[in-house]
Subunit: 254 residues, 2 copies
């Protein structure tokens, strides 16, 4: 397919790379960030502009990969020919925000944490949606071309729920890593020694459910160890609160 | 080295496998759980007993890999010849619990989440300690034979601190996976679709620090999305509390 990408951030960069790998043609990169746009255009052997009024009219699909709160602005300025397909990439924004842009609009949401710098692209499950059959079919086809089996239709409501789950397993988990790193640094320990444990914890739930995989002093109701740990956290009030709440939650969930 | 393993649970099973792979000889498995012990003995082509009084006296090293609160009992019953080295595998228990067992005692703590069922053994950083140079050197050598570079000496205090950090990055993280799985199940979503995101989140911190890697609505102070998420969690009070506390913590840590 011929695609125009609006945006030049993490999602735009990685989706564009996946589209190229999937055999598609990127006709143009549109972004207010001229230098980021031209960098991507160079990478993809295409052109770029920082004026949305100069958008290329010949694509089949227009992908809006910008920050959630910028989608509305883009939608109000975007003028594309009738019958073109337009989709944004946000989990937490309704597809209807694009209603006035085209009669064919939808969503193309990559459920993954994406960074520009990635060269080895990870698996990216795609959740798509469209306001009519043509849009839905086209976005599904596009999704399959870059994600094979991990492709599902998801309406606004499901996408928002998926996003909640994604925040829990990714943003919150990463914050725990961050707190542990800070704790290790302050206590003179080497955080890197925890990496094999972090990896094992994340990868084993491919084989067993996280409920089965739960271990540690909380689930064993090992009061002695819990007490020792809380004692060590007395100068880390924030971490101590998190320790207490998560310990309680593990014990209730048993 | 010739080793006797006391215990037949997750840690005993996996360490034993690592010892075998590292070229050591396991002279005996001692465990109250006779069937688990004989299963391991069969796997390692050795003998087993469920009477600690029948312990083989010819090993160089005795590894006590049992639950934290069982180490004291074992220590009081264990009779081995003078000059033998004895070590337990617990993070949160002082090495001094073994003071009366031998004049050479220490700790051999694997910082990893281990399960009996593992056949592909993960990287296992080993933290060792000994009451004297002979013990420390021997345990260090044993550690290097199964873990190569991920080997460090750690006293009681450091080991306990490492354990706190391990609980945070492994037990708590796994609990978040568990809560997200439950949420997905109740909301009719497929938790498996989150696995690539979980994997990416865990693996990328090999390359960038978790602080740099933090993304999501909390760190962006995206109030609109945070509000939508909290609305969706209104029937999940426990998860909602965790959401609020971790969001606050992310925003304070910025």
């Amino acid at each position: 397919m011929d695609i125009v990408i609006i945006g030049s951030g993490n999602v735009a960069s990685v989706l564009g790379r996946k589209f190229k790998t999937g055999g598609h043609r990127i006709l143009q990169v549109v972004s207010r960030n001229a230098s980021a746009a031209s960098k991507l255009a160079y990478e993809w052997d295409t052109e770029s502009t920082n004026y949305i009024s100069l958008i290329n009219k010949n694509a089949e699909v227009y992908i809006i990969a910008v920050a959630d709160d910028a989608i509305g602005d883009i939608a109000s300025e975007l003028a594309i020919p009738a019958k073109k397909i337009v989709a944004h990439t946000a989990a937490a924004v309704s597809k209807d925000i694009l209603r006035k842009v085209s009669s064919h609009y939808g969503v193309f949401y990559p459920l993954q944490s994406l960074r520009k710098e990635m060269t080895l692209l990870p698996d990216i499950p795609i959740f798509f949606d469209g306001n009519d059959e043509k849009t839905t079919k086209t976005l599904e086809q596009l999704a399959h071309s870059i994600a094979r089996e991990k492709v599902l239709r998801a309406d606004d409501d499901s996408r928002l729920k998926l996003h909640v789950a994604a925040v829990i397993v990714s943003n919150f988990t990463n914050h725990l890593y961050s707190l542990a790193e800070e704790y290790c640094r302050k206590e003179g320990l080497d955080f890197k020694q925890l990496l094999p444990l972090i990896e094992e914890t994340a990868l084993r739930i491919k084989d067993i459910s996280p409920q089965q995989a739960q271990t540690g002093p909380a689930i064993r109701h090992d009061k002695e160890t819990l007490e020792k740990h809380l004692q060590l956290l007395k100068n880390y009030p924030q971490l101590k609160n998190i320790y207490l709440l998560l310990t309680e939650s593990i014990q209730q969930n048993k």
